[in-house]
Subunit: 246 residues, 2 copies
């Protein structure tokens, strides 16, 4: 539990290689994660090659960590392998639908988190790239992902060259509900977020962006309505292109 | 890493209670999971109450574990709290779209897996219920989930009263791709799945269901095309009802 409680995202890595043996151990531990009906509806694409990393980085909006990490792991919802098995086994698969996509995405994310915890347990540093769903189409093309395979998240992994401070979290009571959802009054929301708003880093963020509140940095700069809507449409098209919205 | 490698799903639990303090520690560790932009786009609804468990069990198709577990944790993608914070902070949120749902679902799943690992580390047993997305609408009604909150997965937790054998997994090489996706030939698929097909439990499964192959048990009995399509439509309607497909 200490390991989980010490988690930080690492964005600077040393030159030290991750051996294939270690990477393999991470995947073995990853594949132990719970999976729907033991179907293991995921694949992981490992990016080490310098030329591939150069092509992948702009698809992650050139976040520095997408270039500096020695290894990028792209976790994909994958019904292709399972469907191929059905087809060679005289079975008629019916997994070209949204429900099946969601099932596979859940599988892929539980595996991803297991891999991250195994990595941290081995002394490695990790950082999730939340940008995978933005440019899923381009990642699909680059990695030659077939029908019924869609990338969901990417993890940068390497030996850490920094020890960042932990980020704040909301009071745990704010995300837990007993028996039924207790909706938030304005006062409760303000109380829960006040610690975050008063952080030196938050104040700096607000000032740098010339905004009136921390929330405005999120809505006006980081996660904008127009972008969210654009990428919603794009991702739903990708699901259709990959055969998950027939 | 040993802890991850020893994972089994536990479906029988002793009468021993989980103390609120221990549950709280699991949530603290859970909330340490990576989260998009540190937004923590999730909520967890804790079901302990007997009457609530009785109402929840049929929504999980009366899987025995949904009744026998002392605690059920329903992990939800939640943009409601964040949006409420935006609104009281003079910010204009734009999170009523599919992209935002997916982002929140990813957050919720990484947190869920952290909670599971923390639970196992404390000696508890866990079992995921993959049925949450089937009856999301009814779970929303029962737990009074507001707009922009959608349940994604449920975890049964308790002190184990059994030590099940580990389930098989595919050879790890079958789920890993270097640089680009290596699509599977019929021979490769058969080789990867042969171990699973030859298991005593698989053969029994095939015989009991009167099928010609293990894959047919999946396509014809466990995860049928008509069901998948029905629940695809239903879940997309739920996303619309909850304000995530505007």
């Amino acid at each position: 539990m200490d390991l989980l409680n010490q988690h930080v995202s690492v964005r600077k890595f040393s030159d030290r290689m991750i051996t294939p043996e270690l990477l393999n151990r991470l995947f073995v531990a990853g594949a132990r994660a719970s999976t729907t009906g033991n179907m293991q509806l995921y694949s992981v694409v490992v990016t080490r090659d310098q030329a591939m990393r150069e092509q992948l980085a702009p698809l992650h909006f050139n976040q520095p960590v997408a270039r500096t990490a020695p290894v990028l792991l792209t976790f994909c919802a994958d019904f292709n392998r399972f469907v191929k098995w059905c087809e060679v086994s005289g079975a008629s698969p019916g997994y070209d639908n949204f429900h099946s996509f969601l099932t596979a995405a859940i599988d892929a994310l539980l595996m991803a988190q297991n891999v991250c915890i195994a990595a941290e347990n081995a002394g490695l540093g990790i950082c999730y790239l939340g940008t995978t769903t933005y440019n899923a189409r381009e990642i699909i093309a680059l990695m030659k992902l077939p029908q019924l395979v869609v990338p969901i998240t990417t993890v940068a992994v390497g030996w850490p060259a920094e020890q960042p401070e932990q980020q704040d979290r909301l009071p745990v009571a704010s995300v837990i509900h007993n028996e039924v959802y207790h909706d938030y009054s304005a006062e409760e929301v303000l109380a829960y977020y006040s610690f975050k708003e008063q952080l030196e880093s938050s104040r700096k963020f607000v000032a740098e962006n010339g905004k009136a509140s921390l929330a405005q940095v999120f809505t006006d700069v980081r996660y904008k309505k127009a972008d969210n809507e654009f990428f919603s449409g794009k991702f739903l098209e990708v699901l259709k292109e990959q055969g998950f919205l027939k």
